[in-house]
C-alpha cells in the first residue's frame, strides 16, 4: 500500500515539476491547461478529489492505467517552487484531511473563508495600496453574493496630531462647549479630541468615502484566498502565473491554527469587521 502511494506521489510530482518553457504544439498547451488550477472552484474540486475536475478527466483519458488517490492528488495543490517547505507539516495536514473516519472537504458555501483583493486606491490625490476583504454571503435558498467585510490601507489611518497642545480644555463645559466650533475646523489635530480607547472603524470610514465618491479604485493587483474552515488548520492560496505545470491557484502558506488564533487572524490580519460576532453567529447556525 505504501509503495503504491509512493509511486502515485512520484507520478504526480514528476508531472508537476516538468517545465514547459515553450508551447510548441496544441497537445502541450492542452496538457498545461489541464494541469493548471485556473479557477478557485477548480481548486475546491481538486481538494475534494471530485471526479469532475478537468485534471482527473484528462488523466483518465491519457493515462487510463494510472490509479490516483486523494493523498497523492492533494500534494499537487501545493506550490512546489516558492513555498517554505515543511514536508512533515504538509504530511500531517494531508493525513488529517484524508482521515477515513472524518475526511475534510471544502465547500463554496462554507463559512470562514475569505478573498483578499490587493489593489491600488486613490484618496485626496494620494495613492496607496489597500487590501479589501470579501466573503461569500449566502441565503437559505443557496443564492449568494460576495460582500466586503474588511478593509485595510494606510490612507484610512487617522493622521498623527500636529500640535498636542490643541485640546478641549477641562473647563469647556463652563462655556457650553463653544470650543467645539474650533475643533470642527482643526482636522490636523483630530486625534487630540478623541477618546484614548477609540480605534477607528475603517470599514465605516471606507464606505463613507465611497458613498461620497471620495475614494477611487485604480487597479486590482492580486487576489488571495484565506481558508480557515478546516478544524485546527488554516491555509492561503495564491495564483502562480507561470509556465510550469505546477501553476495556477496553489497553497502558498499552511499553518496549524486553533479557533482562538483564527479569531485573532480574522480580526488582526484580515481586519474583518465584527469578526467575533461573525464566529458566534456561525456557531449558532451550526
Amino acid at each position: 500500500m505504501l509503495i503504491r502511494s509512493f509511486i502515485i506521489f512520484i507520478f504526480i510530482l514528476f508531472f508537476n515539476q516538468v517545465s514547459k518553457s515553450q508551447f510548441t504544439n496544441n497537445e502541450q498547451i492542452r496538457e498545461k491547461f489541464n494541469y493548471e488550477i485556473i479557477q478557485l472552484d477548480e481548486f475546491i474540486d481538486r481538494f475534494n478529489f471530485d471526479n469532475d475536475t478537468k485534471l482527473l478527466k484528462y488523466l483518465a483519458i491519457n493515462y487510463p492505467d494510472i490509479s490516483i488517490e486523494r493523498k497523492g492528488f492533494l500534494i499537487t495543490l501545493f506550490d512546489n517552487f516558492d513555498i517554505d517547505y515543511h514536508e512533515s507539516l504538509i504530511k500531517a495536514f494531508i493525513d488529517f484531511v484524508c482521515d477515513s473516519a472524518n475526511p475534510q472537504y471544502l465547500n463554496f458555501y462554507d463559512f470562514n473563508w475569505y478573498a483578499e483583493v490587493n489593489c491600488i486606491i486613490e484618496f485626496n490625490q494620494q495613492i496607496d495600496t489597500g487590501k479589501i476583504i470579501l466573503k461569500n454571503q449566502f441565503n437559505n435558498d443557496s443564492s449568494s453574493k460576495w460582500v466586503i467585510c474588511g478593509i485595510n490601507s494606510e490612507i484610512l489611518e487617522l493622521p498623527e496630531s500636529k500640535d498636542s497642545l490643541k485640546i478641549i480644555t477641562p473647563v469647556s463645559h463652563g462655556t457650553g462647549f463653544i470650543a467645539l466650533y474650533d475643533v470642527f475646523k482643526d482636522g490636523a489635530n483630530i486625534q487630540n479630541y478623541i477618546t484614548a480607547d477609540y480605534s477607528i472603524d475603517k470599514l465605516t470610514y471606507f464606505l463613507t468615502l465611497m458613498y461620497y465618491h471620495k475614494i477611487k479604485l485604480k487597479q486590482v493587483n492580486k487576489v488571495k484566498y484565506h481558508f480557515l474552515q478546516i478544524p485546527g488548520w488554516a491555509f492561503t492560496i495564491d495564483y502562480y502565473n507561470r509556465k510550469e505545470l505546477n501553476s495556477g491557484w496553489l497553497i502558498s502558506e499552511l499553518k496549524r491554527m486553533s479557533n482562538g488564533d483564527k479569531d485573532k487572524y480574522e480580526k488582526e490580519i484580515l481586519n474583518i469587521h465584527n469578526a467575533n460576532q461573525i464566529r458566534k453567529s456561525k456557531q449558532t447556525d451550526k
Binding site: K32, D41, E42
Partner: protein, 191 residues
C-alpha cells in the same frame, strides 16, 4: 367573508402562476449552451482579427459577437507581462476590444481556442440570476513580414443565466431563461 375568500383565491392564482412561470432552469443544459456561445465568440473574434475578412464582414462579426454578451459595455481585461517588468492590466469595453482587434497591424493573424471548459457550476446570485465561469486557452499568432508574434493566454469568461419575458402563441408573456457571456479576464503567463 366571501369577499376575502375571493381576494385570497385571486392572490393564490397570481402567486401560483408567477412561481410556475419562474421554474428553475436546467443548469446542465445551460452549461452546454454557454460553452457553445463561448465557442461562437472564438469564431467571431477569429473572423474580426483575420486579414482576409472584408471590413463589412468584420462589422457583421463584431455585431454578432456583441449579441452573445449581456451588454456590449462589459469589461474585457487584458494583463500584459513585459519581460523584466511588472504586469500591467488594461480594461476595455467589449466593443472597443473588438474594434481594436479588427485594426491590429499585422499581415496575418490566427486565433485558435485550443480548449474550452466550464470550470464552475452555475451559482445562484441573490438577484435571481445564475452565474458561472468558462475558461479557455487561446493561441494567438500574428505575422508581419519576417516577424512572427505568438502567445498562449487563458481567458476567463463570466456567464450569466437570466430570465426574460417572451410572448407565447396565445400572446401571453412567459418567463424563459437564456445564457449570455459577460466580463472577460485574460491572463498572460508571466515567466
Amino acid at each position: 367573508m366571501k369577499k376575502y375568500v375571493i381576494i385570497f383565491g385571486i392572490l393564490m392564482w397570481f402567486v401560483s402562476g408567477y412561481s410556475q412561470s419562474l421554474n428553475e432552469p436546467n443548469l446542465e443544459n445551460f452549461k452546454i449552451l454557454a460553452e457553445k456561445k463561448a465557442k461562437s465568440f472564438s469564431v467571431y473574434i477569429s473572423k474580426v482579427a483575420s486579414k482576409s475578412t472584408s471590413l463589412d464582414d468584420k462589422e457583421i462579426a463584431i455585431n454578432q459577437a456583441c449579441r452573445l454578451f449581456i451588454y456590449d459595455t462589459v469589461t474585457i481585461q487584458v494583463s500584459y507581462c513585459p519581460s523584466g517588468g511588472n504586469p500591467t492590466v488594461y480594461s476595455r469595453t467589449l466593443i472597443k476590444y473588438l474594434r481594436r482587434l479588427s485594426m491590429l497591424n499585422y499581415d496575418q493573424i490566427t486565433i485558435e481556442w485550443v480548449d474550452v471548459v466550464m470550470v464552475s457550476d452555475l451559482k445562484k446570485g441573490t438577484d435571481g440570476n445564475f452565474y458561472g465561469i468558462i475558461s479557455t486557452v487561446q493561441r494567438f499568432t500574428a505575422v508581419k513580414g519576417e516577424y512572427t508574434y505568438s502567445d498562449v493566454t487563458v481567458k476567463h469568461i463570466e456567464v450569466v443565466l437570466k430570465p426574460y419575458l417572451k410572448p407565447n402563441d396565445q400572446g401571453d408573456d412567459e418567463w424563459r431563461w437564456d445564457v449570455y457571456l459577460s466580463n472577460v479576464n485574460i491572463v498572460e503567463p508571466c515567466s
